[in-house]
């Protein structure tokens, strides 16, 4: 069978000053459609870099990455951007909403750059906001929302484009435990609805909510793969 994500031999080197840092070292990762995977690891283990590469935000130094049957890094910057706009939903630790835009406009933002701008944009946007339960806050600015609400807006922004893949980078890192729980429940619900999710975290508790946990250390996956259910 073919995987939704199939990356092999992914390496990434950074040069900081004179020294060369190996962030990722010959990584292989495969993810099936509809799967939820957590990547764990201490800070500096390269997990965010891996997420950025899988999210087409960054190119690896070497390696091959096939996403949904397409060889991603063969494409130009423009095509990569277009790919992000149409297929990848990012959720960040710091929410990354634009403060000058309302909830509605923030969720609409990816459509400004996506090629699929048909009449149903507004419907998709409101549906996504409904899914995260913020339909009554449409015209609020991020500054008027709580942390949990802001993260829910960010999730709605990722959902609205009906992405092939949702990538979350420490999505609960800035939230208290009760709000974190809400967000994780939301993720589980999305996963149950069929979304493919890849989450980066250093929190074992959070990671254990995924189907599969992989641990990254010094740019390499270590030992076994923990599989839940």
């Amino acid at each position: 069978m073919s995987y939704l994500i199939e990356a092999s031999g992914i390496s990434k080197e950074f040069s900081i000053g004179a020294s060369l840092i190996q962030a990722l070292d010959d990584i292989d990762i495969r993810v099936n459609e509809g799967e939820s995977v957590a990547i764990m690891g201490p800070s500096g283990s390269g997990k965010s870099t891996l997420l950025h590469i899988l999210g087409c935000l960054e190119r690896p130094t070497s390696g091959r990455y096939i996403l949904d049957g397409k060889d991603v890094f063969e494409s130009s910057d423009r095509q990569l951007s277009n790919f992000r706009a149409n297929h990848i939903g990012f959720v960040f630790q710091t929410f990354n909403l634009l403060s000058q835009l309302t909830v509605l406009e923030n969720v609409e933002l990816p459509f400004l750059y996506s090629s699929s701008d048909n009449g149903e944009t507004r419907a998709r946007v409101t549906r996504a906001i409904e899914q995260v339960g913020l339909i009554n806050r449409l015209n609020h600015r991020p500054a008027e929302l709580s942390g949990g609400e802001m993260q829910r807006v960010a999730i709605a922004r990722a959902l609205a484009i009906e992405p092939t893949l949702i990538l979350a980078d420490e999505p609960t890192g800035n939230l208290d435990s009760r709000t974190s729980e809400e967000i994780l429940e939301l993720f589980e619900r999305l996963h149950d609805d069929g979304a493919t999710m890849l989450m980066v975290t250093h929190d074992r508790e959070v990671a254990s909510r995924s189907q599969r946990v992989m641990t990254l250390r010094d740019g390499k996956f270590i030992d076994g793969v923990e599989v839940r259910s």
């Binding site: 935000l57 423009r78 990354n96 400004l112 701008d117």
Partner: protein, 416 residues
């Protein structure tokens, strides 16, 4: 289209976040555009003024004017066998220059009219029958001087509008007016002409409203007295108006005529040649210098304004690094980021342009009211001003926008 509207709306939103900053940053552009518009309007006004003067003279015409000589000069002129401006010159020009269509003669006479209202002091002049046609003077009623009047030296006259009005009921067609000791029958009255007196004008334009024309040849009775007093140019004629067939031939014909005149007058400087088209060229040349000076001032202020815009945009870009990262993450390509920041800088300078145009209109109005200069604001000058402000926005916005577009999305996202 919808996307473009959205990009503009987003740009407006971003700019409105820092209203004061935006307002201050476009001050330079406002000044520049105001200067551009003022320059164009003053230039246009001056151009129209010169054009209207020269049009009154006729662009197909060349004027030969007699110069009143001092006694010494007159002796020298006689030695060179020059007879001053005369009908002989007319014949020579008609024969010698093929481009000439017609030549009209005019002789100013120092005669006074009896029974004239005080405010009008008419200039009496004897002229050839083609004068009205060459000078394009329209008749109100009656006729102009005819060939027969000249041949038979009829004592008839044609009055300018003001003269006819000034004479009241005596100024009607068929009545007689008295000049010196003779009666002249009125055969025609000229239409009232728009006459603009312009201070500091290069050329004097004759005011036909205040003239009385009599046939050339019939002036004998009026000439006697003053001629003896030696106040008139020796050849008799005051002016020859030469009409050239085509406008393009004027400059060429002028040099031919100058040569004919110099030869026949033996080099005596007893005439002066005025070519309205040459004056037009001169005026345009002066205008060009003026435009270059004002244009450079406007350009410098636009340059300064543009640098201000660039400065602000660079600050904005670095301030919004994180936003750039976010946009890139949700799918913006480099071009999208570039367009967004370019849209903001163009929007800034364009609104500066609009304020500048408004400022320019007020400024021009102020100049007209205070200095009394002729000005004219054309649609083109407004379009040009707005276009220039847009170009400044693009030119000085490109570097900051490029700087924003080439940022590494990851680094931008991590930016605090």
């Amino acid at each position: 289209m919808k996307r473009a509207a959205k990009i503009i709306a987003l740009a407006v939103r971003s700019l409105l976040q820092h209203k004061l900053r935006a307002a201050l940053s476009i001050l330079g552009v406002i000044c520049g555009v105001t200067a551009v518009l003022a320059m164009l309007s003053i230039g246009e006004g001056a151009k129209r003024e010169v054009l209207s003067q020269i049009e009154q003279l006729g662009t197909r015409n060349i004027y030969l004017k007699a110069v009143v000589l001092t006694e010494d000069q007159e002796i020298k002129a006689r030695e060179r066998l020059s007879r001053g401006l005369s009908t002989y010159d007319k014949d020579r020009i008609v024969l010698g220059c093929a481009a000439v269509r017609d030549v009209a003669c005019l002789m100013e006479l120092p005669a006074s009219v009896i029974g004239m209202a005080r405010e009008v002091s008419p200039q009496v002049a004897a002229c050839s029958s083609n004068y009205a046609e060459v000078q394009k003077i329209p008749l109100s009623y009656g006729r102009f001087i005819g060939d027969q009047d000249m041949e038979r030296k009829y004592r008839v006259c044609v009055l300018g509008w003001d003269v006819s009005e000034g004479l009241g009921s005596e100024g009607r067609l068929g009545s007689h007016i008295r000049m010196e000791d003779h009666l002249y029958r009125i055969v025609g009255v000229l239409k009232r002409q728009g006459f603009k007196t312009v201070k500091s004008s290069v050329v004097s334009v004759r005011n036909h409203n205040q003239m009385i024309f009599i046939p050339l040849g019939a002036e004998g009775d009026l000439v006697q007295g003053p001629y003896r007093r030696g106040k008139r140019p020796s050849g008799g004629l005051t002016e020859l108006v030469i009409q050239v067939q085509e406008t393009e031939q004027v400059i060429g014909a002028a040099s031919v005529i100058r040569r004919i005149m110099e030869r026949s007058h033996g080099g005596a400087a007893d005439f002066q040649m005025v070519v309205p088209q040459e004056l037009l060229r001169q005026a345009q040349k002066t205008q060009r210098t003026f435009n270059i000076v004002l244009g450079s001032i406007a350009c410098i202020s636009l340059l300064v304004g543009g640098i201000g815009i660039m400065n602000i945009m660079l600050a904005t870009v670095s301030e919004r690094t994180r936003e750039i990262g976010i946009r890139r993450a949700v799918g913006a390509a480099r071009e999208h980021i570039m367009i967004q920041f370019l849209a903001e800088s163009v929007l800034l300078t364009f609104s500066g342009g609009i304020v500048g145009v408004a400022g320019g209109i007020v400024g021009v109005w102020f100049i007209t009211a205070m200095a009394g200069w002729k000005t004219a604001i054309t649609v083109w000058s407004i379009i040009l001003s707005l276009l220039m402000s847009t170009v400044v926005g693009i030119f000085f916005g490109i570097y900051p926008a490029y700087h924003a577009a080439k940022m590494d999305p990851i680094a931008a996202l991590r930016h605090e």
